[in-house]
């Protein structure tokens, strides 16, 4: 798992990328970064460049695919999309995340 993500909560960037690709379909790096920023609004501070190391890791796991294509503004760009295994992985990650937040929530609800 990634070690440093600036202000992005530890271990969540991968999930954000997978979910964004799932919801929006194929995107290039800039598009992906912008989508994440828009969804997160100003709640987190994302160094846009940090998605690239995350993308290469997800690609190595076989969860996303990368293909060269042409962007809206007619530029050559690499488009990332979710692979079938990535779709499955997203389900697992979402389950993990829900369980983690449930557990953390319970701890936070503990009364002193």
């Amino acid at each position: 798992m990634s070690r440093i993500h600036g202000d992005v909560p530890y271990g969540t960037l991968d999930l954000m990328i997978l979910k964004t690709l799932h919801a929006r379909g194929p995107l290039h790096g800039f598009g992906l970064a912008r989508e994440i920023e828009q969804v997160a609004e100003n709640l987190i501070q994302l160094n846009q460049g940090s998605i690239y190391p995350a993308l290469v890791r997800l690609h190595q796991q076989g969860w996303i695919k990368a293909d060269w294509g042409v962007s809206d503004s007619n530029r050559r760009a690499k488009f990332y999309s979710l692979s079938p295994t990535g779709r499955k992985q997203l389900g697992i990650e979402v389950e993990n995340w829900k369980r983690t937040s449930l557990v953390v929530g319970r701890f936070l609800a503990m009364e002193s």
Partner: protein
């Protein structure tokens, strides 16, 4: 998981493309970001800056991308290797020295390993070859094969408890006629039991049957693979054809495989001994034993049994005199491989030892070089360590540099070895067996790899060991100015290396000195003939056109014509040249000694042979033309001495099987079998007398008044006038015959290689000493400057700076002398009339090295004395 690793592995090797792709992505990303900001109303310049800000550090992204996608250690190795290659390319002098030194050292060794493997290590081709043994006698440090009579052989066969099977063999030269020109064939005589001992089947046909090995049995022959392909064109129909061997017609019944070379490679044909199994003949023959050990016997147990059996030989009628002369000495059963390889073993091991020493010197030299380089770099390393480079990182870098050099040296070494094996095989004396198997095989490759890697690791570790703790690294920061004096620890390691190097070089110089001395002693041996201005060539008269009787007349006419040529002093013909190990032996009875029948070398010669060879007549007279009419004998002086030491041999009678011939002349002994083989008596019979074997294949010897370069055309013309179709074979000077003879070629080979090795060692040693002292002087420039400013004399500076560095040289010379005195014993068998402790050589070896060392030290020492105190101090 595996998939991810494959990706990583792949991306490690495609990094340039992946980097380019990433750069393109980042570039696009930044452009798009900037456009976005511009749409929000920023100026292009502000937008670009804002884009970079919001993207984060481009370089960090790149680095983390690499980390994420690759295999860190593989990447770091790649990086190390690339960095190492770049550093080495910059230090061209250092790199070239290191690679060349390794190339020569490893190459010479790999070549010798391949020769040693083929000649010494590989087993003989016979099944269970380690059981096959032969019987030798150890007599005053020499090993001679035991010779037996027929009765003695029978006794051994019946009485021994050590051998599964025991046979006899002998080898000789006989003229061979059939299918092509007559030739002098090397013949192996083998009992069927000897064939059984070796247990090798022919590739074609069969081995002799039991009948064929009985007296008066069918006469058969088994061909060597080489003779079969050379003379019969590898014709499978050769079986059943006949050859004439020494006037006996023999049927070809088989062809042996190419690797069958018994008793030596180069035997052309094998024939059965046809010994009478119940023979009581106790006359000495030239038969040797070959046997296969029982599984419960060892060479040691068999040796002691053989010794007891030899003592019992009088039981079958052997005269005691025989035991005290021919069969004296300690019986020793040795493996056949030891017997075959025996003489060459010490030669090859000494040469192998010499090249190993050269390699060790080269390694010691390079180690010094690496240490000095490491010291020069210490401040730089310290800076790197302080800036956070881990010790592992620094060590990795050093290791990759050293390994890169070592591998380059190894590859170069293999190339040198490939060429070197060919050179060695070409240069090696003809007597070294099994050279045809020399090749670069897995053993040689493995050896090269092992030496290269070991060298690389040592080179890397030595400087690293010096810098083995960061604690020791840090103080080095204070020496960034590189002018401090080296600590005692440094000096000690470097001094030890210099001493080692010097000791090894001194050993080599002494070794080569001993060989050179042997060589000159061997060349000083009187061969018994005068080789100067003598030319020799071979002639083979075709049996289709010549009878044995015609041959004599032909030779006499040829000799007469040759003698009439201008500047030709004399000429003669012989069936066998001297200094040749394989000679034709014949048995002769001696009239004065009814039991004294003996086997010795007999040669058929024309009148003029003694004169042409410059062999003096000791008593009686020389050979005259009329001697060809009647069977008369000429014998060598030592044969005459052996039987008629008190009276004159002239007028006595000897001869084969009751046919008596008068001895009319006693001539000086020739070194028949070689310069190092003790003088033995031989006999000469005039060509043309009755009872001679085939003399169709001979050597002609011609003595000229001075060194004649263009004698060949008139010689050819004269031969052509007698027979236009007769070629001159193997035209050589007698000097060449001696140079190619066994002992001379072996000693020349060893002396040559050792001198080359010693020269390289001297050079490397000189370079090493020069390097060490030059480095010491350059490091201590300011110290010397201070000393001289404070009034030190030149002599004091010399002894302080140079003297300190020369101490290890002196220690090395002492060690080398001691090691040579202990180690030169292994050379004893190669030396000829030279003691391994030859005082002159032991003295002059170190002296030669001292001269080189002084010369090597003088240059940097002179530089030290020229140092100007003012400028030395200013250079701070």
């Amino acid at each position: 998981m595996l998939r991810a690793w494959l990706h990583r592995l792949a991306s490690s090797f495609r990094r340039q493309r992946i980097d380019a792709e990433l750069d393109e992505e980042i570039h696009t990303h930044l452009e798009l970001l900037a456009e976005d900001f511009e749409r929000q109303g920023m100026t292009p310049e502000d937008a670009r800056r804002a884009a970079y800000r919001s993207f984060g550090g481009v370089e960090q992204v790149r680095e983390r991308h690499r980390e994420a996608r690759g295999i860190p250690w593989l990447d770091s190795i790649q990086r190390d290797v690339r960095l190492a290659a770049r550093t080495l390319a910059k230090e061209r002098g250092f790199t070239l020295t290191a690679v060349l030194t390794l190339t020569i050292g490893i190459g010479a060794n790999a070549a010798m390993v391949s020769v040693v493997d083929a000649v010494l290590l590989r087993p003989l081709p016979y099944p269970e070859e380690e059981e096959v043994v032969t019987l030798a006698l150890q007599r005053s440090g020499m090993r001679v094969p035991a010779r037996f009579s027929e009765a003695g052989y029978r006794f051994f066969r019946e009485e021994n408890r050590s051998f599964q099977e025991l046979g006899v063999y002998a080898s000789t030269q006989r003229p061979l006629i059939g299918s092509g020109e007559p030739m002098q064939a090397s013949v192996g005589l083998m009992s069927n039991s000897a064939f059984a001992v070796l247990s090798m089947s022919p590739v074609l046909g069969r081995l002799p049957s039991d009948d064929e090995d009985l007296p008066a049995g069918p006469t058969v022959a088994v061909l060597s693979h080489d003779l079969w392909s050379r003379r019969f064109g590898s014709d499978p129909e050769v079986l059943g054809r006949t050859i004439e061997l020494n006037d006996t017609t023999r049927e070809v019944i088989g062809v042996m495989p190419p690797q069958f070379g018994f008793p030596s490679q180069g035997i052309d044909v094998w024939v059965p001994t046809q010994l009478d199994p119940s023979s009581t003949d106790v006359r000495l023959s030239s038969y040797h034993l070959v046997a296969r050990l029982r599984s419960d016997a060892t060479p040691e147990s068999a040796s002691s049994e053989a010794g007891r059996l030899i003592q019992r030989l009088p039981e079958v009628g052997h005269a005691q005199g025989l035991l005290s002369s021919v069969l004296s000495g300690e019986a020793s059963v040795i493996t056949l491989k030891e017997d075959v390889v025996g003489e060459s073993r010490s030669l090859l091991l000494v040469v192998m030892g010499a090249v190993s020493l050269v390699l060790l010197i080269a390694l010691a030299n390079l180690s010094t070089l690496f240490i000095v380089r490491g010291e020069e770099r210490a401040p730089q390393q310290a800076v790197r360590a302080t800036l956070g480079a881990s010790r592992t990182r620094l060590a990795q870098h050093a290791l990759s540099e050293a390994l890169l050099l070592a591998i380059a040296g190894g590859v170069g070494g293999l190339l040198v070895a490939a060429a070197g094996t060919r050179g060695l095989v070409g240069l090696a004396p003809p007597s070294v067996p099994r050279l045809d198997g020399v090749n670069i095989n897995r053993l040689v490759l493995g050896y090269t790899l092992a030496v290269s890697l070991a060298a690389g690791v040592v080179f890397a570790l030595l400087p690293a060991w010096r810098a083995r703790s960061t604690r020791r690294l840090l103080p080095d920061l204070s020496r960034v100015g590189r002018n401090a004096t080296a600590g005692p620890g440094r000096l000690r390691l470097r001094g030890a290396l210099v001493s080692t190097e010097v000791a090894l070089a001194v050993m080599l110089v002494i070794g080569s000195g001993l060989m050179v001395r042997s060589y000159s002693k061997l060349r000083a041996v009187d061969p018994g003939f005068d080789s100067e201005n003598v030319i020799t060539f071979g002639l083979i008269l075709p049996a289709t056109r010549y009878e044995n009787e015609d041959a004599a007349e032909f030779y006499l006419r040829l000799v007469e014509r040759l003698r009439a040529l201008p500047r030709v002093e004399s000429a003669g013909v012989t069936t066998g040249l001297p200094v040749t190990p394989v000679q034709a032996n014949y048995r002769m009875d001696i009239e004065d000694f009814p039991d004294g029948s003996d086997v010795f070398v007999v040669r058929w010669v024309t009148p003029g042979y003694f004169e042409a060879m410059g062999i003096p007549i000791a008593s009686g007279r020389t050979m005259l033309t009329e001697d060809v009419e009647e069977f008369r004998l000429f014998i060598g002086a030592s044969l005459a001495e052996q039987y008629w030491s008190t009276s004159s041999a002239v007028g006595k009678r000897m001869g084969p099987g009751g046919i008596w011939a008068d001895i009319v002349g006693v001539v000086g002994d020739e070194r028949i079998r070689g310069l190092d083989v003790p003088v033995e008596g031989g006999a000469y019979v005039p060509i043309g007398v009755p009872f001679s074997p085939s003399v169709l294949s001979v050597s002609v010897v011609v003595r000229t008044s001075d060194a004649v370069a263009d004698l060949l055309p008139p010689l050819r013309r004269e031969v052509g006038l007698l027979d236009p179709e007769l070629p001159l074979i193997n035209v050589r000077s007698m000097e060449e015959v001696i140079a190619n003879s066994y002992a001379v070629s072996r000693t020349t080979f060893a002396a040559l290689l050792l001198v080359v090795a010693a020269t390289v060692a001297l050079l490397l040693g000189g370079i090493g000493i020069y390097g060490v002292i030059a480095y010491a002087v350059s490091r201590r420039t300011s110290e010397i400057g201070i000393r001289m400013a404070l009034g030190a004399t030149a002599a004091q500076v010399w002894s302080r700076v140079v003297g300190a560095e020369l101490l290890p040289v002196a220690i090395g010379i002492g060690l080398g002398l001691a090691a040579a005195a202990l180690g030169s014993r292994v050379m004893a068998s190669l030396l000829f009339e030279t003691s391994p402790l030859d005082p002159a050589t032991l003295f002059s070896g170190p002296l030669a090295f001292l001269l080189v060392a002084t010369a090597a030290a003088a240059v940097p020492a002179a530089r030290a004395l020229r140092i100007d105190p003012v400028s030395a101090l200013r250079s701070e």
